[in-house]
Amino acid sequence: MTVFLGESGFVELIRAGVVDNETYSLAPGDVSVAKDRFSFTYPTGMLITGDLVQFKATDGGLLDFVDASGWIDNTIHEDGAWYVNVDDVGGIRLYHYFGDAVNGEQQGRVSLQQPTRTIPLEVGVDQSTGRCLAQCTDYEFSNTREAADVTALTDEFRNQYSGIISGSGSLNCFFSYRQEMCDGTNQPTEKAAYLHQLVLRQTLGSKFRAKLFVIRPEVGAGNAANDQVWFEFDALITNSAISLEPTSLIRSRIQFVTTGPIRMKIATAEGFYLLQENNGFLLLNQDVASRLERDTV
C-alpha cells in the first residue's frame, strides 16, 4: 500500500487571459525613449507587473512606439505582446521574459522609440504559461455539489436531485515579491504579491487558472512511475490576507472560488510488463474470428 506525503504537492498558477474592450490612446509625449518607459491613461491596477500584455493599434497603423528590436523578426507590426513592469506611478516598461519584467531592471528591457502619431491602443492580458507558486506551504481545495430537494408528499425518505458543482479553497504561502526560481528547476516562480495585486484589480477582474498538484512528477520514491495527479480549474480570488508579527515569517493567505468546470486529471505512465514464463502479462488483441480464449482461472 502506498501513502503520499504533502511534499508531493505543488501549485501551478497561470495568469488568465482577459481582454479590455476600452480603447486607450498613446500620444508621442507619453513615451520616454531615454528611459524606455511609456504610459497612458488607464485604470490604476489594471496591469500588474509580470503580465503578458497584448497591445494592438486599432487604427490599422503600426505599433511604432516599440523599436523593431522588440519583435522576434525585427519588424514593427500593428500588434505585439510583451511582459510588463509597472512602476508605482503607472509607467510601463516592456520585457521579453517574465523574470526580467518582475525584476524591472535594464537587462532584457525592450527599446522604445518616439511614435509618429497618437496611437489608439487596445490592451489585453494574454494567458501566460504555468508557473509554480513561490514558497507555498499548504493548500486546501473543496468541491461541493448542490442537491435539490425533490421530496414529494407521501414520500417517507428525502429524495435529492444532483445540482451544480462549485469549488473553493485557500492557498497559504510565505510572502514574496522578487523574482525567484522554482525549486529543482530553472523556471521562474509566480510570487505571492501577484495574488495580492490580483484581488485589487477592478477593470480586468481577478481570474486566474490553477493546477493544484496532489502528486507531481519526479518527487519521492513512491512516485517512481512519474505519475501526476492534479485538479485544474479557473478561479477568482475572493480574499487575500497578509499577517505580520514580530519573530514570525510573513505569510499570505489567499482564498478563491472556482468558475467554470473543475477537472481532476491523472496522468500515469504506461505499464511495461516483463514477459515471464509464469505470471507474465500479455496484451490480448484479437478480432472476432480468432480462436484464442482467455484463461479464466
Binding site: E146, A148, V150, T151, A152, L153, T154, I164
Partner: protein
Amino acid sequence: MTYYSGVDGSLDFQGLPVAKVRDWQLSMNTDALEVTTLAAMDREFTTGLRSASGSCTVLYYNDAPVPLMEQVLQQGAQTSSIGRLKLKYGPKYFEFEAVFTGAGTGVVVGDVMQVAVQFQKSGPFIATAL
C-alpha cells in the same frame, strides 16, 4: 392521537392523484356581517359567506403539473371552468370544486423546475373529513 405530516399528504385533481406534489395549502374564511343595533353596547356579528382559497406546488416531473396548468389556461384536456380538488392528509380530506386562478413556474440555476398553482373554492365543500 395522531400527528400528520407530509408523508400523509396528497392531492387529487379531477379524481386522479397528482404526482410529485411538494405541498398544498388551504385557507378557509367566513365573512363576519355586523348586526349591531342602536343602544347596543357591544358590536355583534353574524356569519356571512364562506370562502376558501389555497395553493399547491408540483415538481415538473413527467408532466405532472400539466393538467393543473391547462386548467388555469382553459385549454387542452381541461375545458371546464371548474376543476375538482381533493386535498388529503391521512384518512382525512377536503373535497371541493375550484377555479384555478394562477400557475407560476420558472427555471432556476441549481434547482428543479416546479409549478406553483393557486385556486379559489367555488360553491360549498363537496365533502370533508376533518
